[in-house]
Amino acid sequence: MAETKMRKFMNDPANVVKESLAGLAAAHPNLLRYDSAAQIVVRKDAPKQGKVALISGGGSGHEPLHGGFVGLGMLDAACPGEVFTSPVPDQMLAATKAVDGGAGVVHIVKNYTGDVMNFKMAAEDAADDGIKVSAIVIDDDVAVQDSLYTAGRRGVGATVLAEKIAGAAAESGADLTTVSDTVKRVNERARSFGVALSSCIPPAAGKPIFDLPEGEIELGIGIHGEPGRRRAQLGSAAEVVDVMVEAVMSDLKPSRGSQVLAFVNGMGGTPLIELYLLYAEVDRKLRAAGVEPVRNLIGDYITSLEMAGASLTVLHLDDDLLRLWDAPVHTPGLRWGA
């Protein structure tokens, strides 16, 4: 097995997360601040009285998710864990307290055992402190069967879309029930599927999580550098997109003529030239399947360190979701209209 050497910019593997967050804060002082004691990223103008607040969190290594989505029209705070490890309840509680403007706090939780347990403990503590918390779990990855035999579908690409869309709802003054229902609706109407052409190297481990021989592809990967559901011979981009579109559309089953948002996400090590090439295939295949991709998002938004690979998320839009998607957003990772 060929050992891949770790080539990373870092000072000390133990400080990668903290030092990167310090950089995020130094780059965007107008949008957010980094509280290094509580290990949270908080929107600069939080708490906003009367506004429902949104927080999310999870392991680091998925940048710009979640810290890069703190700002106007998206998250009020983010809780970054160690690389690929769920954050601890203390962080979520501190974030919840820092952003609560009296209208309640929505926790957007990706469906991983660790994230769900840690957020659950934090929500119980917040309730003890008299803060209304509504936790919504995102589970859009069709590569995992939602059955008694798994921990359920993973939360992947739909998380980015939910943070944007529900963030817009909160910004427009919607109440706690409406904002949490918006998160739920995005989750119910979105499906994702990911593929990888390489593993990635967590800084603390110093070695790739798996070894993928040249000419092979992992199908059905998540965002933690883990192997997928199965390994196959790498075909053409058109063939790979066939697999992705088929996996997503056969599960989502939008009616003919539906408007959709197509999100082609890079895993961190795949250049834009390839992501756009994939999008050309996606656009064509979605139209052939009878749906219209009226909005798209293409780039690295929910990554797996330096993994080469991509995921496709399709969101079945309606007028309300479309309007909220188009609403102004200003965060380090996503910006338009503001």
Binding site: T85, P89, G114, N118, L148, P202
Partner: protein
Amino acid sequence: MPIEQALNGATVISWMREIESSVRAQRDYLTQLDSAIGDGDHGTNVTRGFASVVEALNGEKDAPPGRLLILAGRTLVSTVGGASGPLWGSALRSGGRVLGDSPTFDGQQLVEVLAAALASIKELGAAAPGDKTMVDALEPAVDKLRGEVAAGAQPAAALASAAAAAEAGMEATVPLQARKGRASYLGERSIGHQDPGATSTALILRALERAVAASS
């Protein structure tokens, strides 16, 4: 009847120290197991957690053992993250509550501590035996400990058998297909690998055996 040895706060502190040095020594092995079927962080997670526990307990030499277990559990919850932080954190907190403020505990109480720990892991994680998790190591260990103590064994001897049962349970996770946690995403590809959480759990039981043997 031989005089039953008294276990106390010092036993808990030395248990945590024994765990810390053993997971630190096995850090890379645990991470390697977690890389095969998880996300390669288990060794780092438990090492970080138990190092913080040892530090937190340092100034608490005179506290009753139940309080020390609760503090250890809280520290794990606050420093580990992942799945193992809340699971072992809640386990130690529930175990500690069993002892209340009692300054010492005996073999029977030790059985109750570990049974409460197991119950709390099963409640939070909803894993059943055979799901390829830490439960597969802890449950046989608790059963063994209960049986040996009921048969009159001294705690240290009973723990030696319990730790062996945990190790057997750990090895028995190899052919299982994971149904809980990250490894379940792999489906059949999780078969043939030993569960990292069951492995650290076996280390935790061995550490307890050493701590108790040293207090007699």
